[in-house]
Symmetry: none
DNA sequence: AAGTAAACGAGACGGTACGTCGTGTCTTCCG
DNA sequence: CGGAAGACACGACGTACCGTCTCGTTTACTT
């Protein structure tokens, strides 16, 4: 087990045990039996380290073409819920968002790694639904996705409440019944 | 101008000028020509101070009964957008959410002060729309509000993008055309 | 029991209980059920207060003319030992000496109140011994007194050791046998 | 020039310039371009730091066997005078004595470092005088030394007066003529 | 007896120093 | 010779007292 692995897994362990604010580069180094410099050689600061540690093994968005767009849409929404309600994300994301405020490089890194890929995948699923006529031509796909993700994240952040399966389904059904449209161009 | 006022207004000024992470209790104290102890006498820590400073003069949710529920719904959504896109909130909210993670007392203080009141007011407006038949009896009002707020906040946080007037309108229209329903009970 | 008395006796009590360094004006005020300003109205600072509190009821130097100068000299030396080994003095004097270093007004107040009077009295006793021929005409009385007081204080300060009765007697006897002389003029 | 040296020499400089009471750990750190933690890593508090800084380069007690015990005794007394009247000691010792009152560990450190060694050396010189018959067999050497040191220190502390050469000589002569004896055992 | 002034308790206030902690850089020394 | 160990400069933390300053509220003296 090389240093990098030990550092990342220790980071996750400390994060889960002590939370983000009590996680310290020095603390992780000590616990991973690693010199601080070894950490700083690979990551410029705490949010970068945490982001790197958290990034992996998060739920992905399913993009299998099953022929049944309704089912696909629901599983996309579920995947979003799984993502934003995962323990790692709940513990680290708010703090990362905050720490990242001073560092636009890190900000885009975060957005690209956690958000953009999943949004692109989700977009493909919804675009397929449009092609199939399940959603109208002028559907504002991006807005739908942000509503879904936003609702999920919002409840997670402020109410410590995860969207349950049924609620996700009702939200998706309502959206499908009448999705937001793109501007008239 | 007494100490409390001087502290709060200095806090807002520093927040706007330097951002949350560079705001320091000692710095605010010095700039407000106040002893640090005077701040600590009234607020236990930085997030509490910032929250208190930020809390005031944020846009409220309009709740006038105009007879036109469609217009009312749109102005509620606009008010939410104004809230979550206000400079104060954008600068402070992510950091507050993060700092608050270790302190459930502060967490509920934040939720109660920034969220709950506005959600309750918004709820009344939507409930009126239900009474008038603009929205169906079994509308999941709370879910609608969290979708709206979530979408707005999500774009603000990750894309530094504020929902423009037209987008808000399209989102509301889609919701009204087919709102999410409450579970079958 | 008026304020002044309450303050002084509380000061002595705190001094005995907590030592000089842990004695604070605010603490004395609280314990004496007195406002801090009431203390500051009468004493400019902590050493002044403590000095005032300590000053009273300290052993005086006996100056009775008994006809037996040898006995008188020994009781003077004993009185010095009693003074510098008294609990009040041991607790407060070093700290007073230190605090007083920045304030020459207070320094002379201390010297005058604690030292000068006793030294003058002691001087009289030794001068009487000179008159009687127990000590030679050119005895350096002042140097004798400073040797005695110095030895006592020195042992008290550095060795936490009080000069016992026998040691005092032997010191005095040696001095009487061959006292230091004044410079040849 | 490493940190330790820089700290100690800065401490001495500040001590001489500003006095003990205005010497601050933070101030020394800033002036020595050193972090406060670096000081606290090596010294637990201000008196320990000052004691360590002051300890070096203080006059030592001469212990050369010249064959002339009278001259040796006088130079011992002179060395004591040089010690207790040295600027470093005058500035720091009273405050050290005071601060040390709460910390018996530091107290013994002080005593051992400043006093005991010199007293032991002085003792040897006087013991040699006893061997040579300059002083009687049953001389209370320790009491002599404490008288000398005490007189010197006493005048330095309370009268800001240093024992001049002649006075030291007269004090020593008187002592030699009739030293205090040990208890009859 | 009422009115007024002084002294008082309580404690907020601006400041200064404290001693601790974490950061990110740098050096030392061991395997 | 790469990496652990940790010293280092820096700066914020939250606490404790300082000495000053308002506040009301007793007291106790004047009228």
């Amino acid at each position: 087990m090389d240093a990098r692995e030990r550092i990342l897994s220790t980071t996750l362990a400390v994060l889960a045990r002590d939370g983000y604010s009590k996680l310290t580069i020095g603390g992780v180094a000590a616990e991973a039996r690693v010199g601080k410099a070894t950490i700083y050689r690979s990551w410029p600061n705490k949010p970068a380290l945490v982001l790197d540690a958290v990034r992996e093994e998060l739920p992905a968005i399913p993009n299998e073409d099953t022929g049944d767009s309704n089912a696909e849409l629901i599983s996309v929404a579920h995947a979003l819920a799984d993502l934003y309600c995962s323990q790692k994300i709940r513990v680290a994301l708010p703090a990362l968002m905050a720490d990242v405020a001073d560092d636009s490089g890190l900000r885009s890194f975060l957005t690209e790694n956690l958000i953009d890929g999943r949004k692109a995948t989700s977009y493909q699923v919804l675009a397929r639904a449009v092609e199939r006529g399940v959603l109208p031509e002028d559907t504002d796909i991006s807005l739908i996705l942000d509503c879904w993700a936003g609702a999920i994240l919002f409840r997670s952040l402020f109410f410590e409440e995860n969207l349950d399966e049924d609620t996700v389904r009702r939200m998706v059904e309502a959206t499908v019944a009448s999705p937001p449209r793109l501007p008239a161009a």
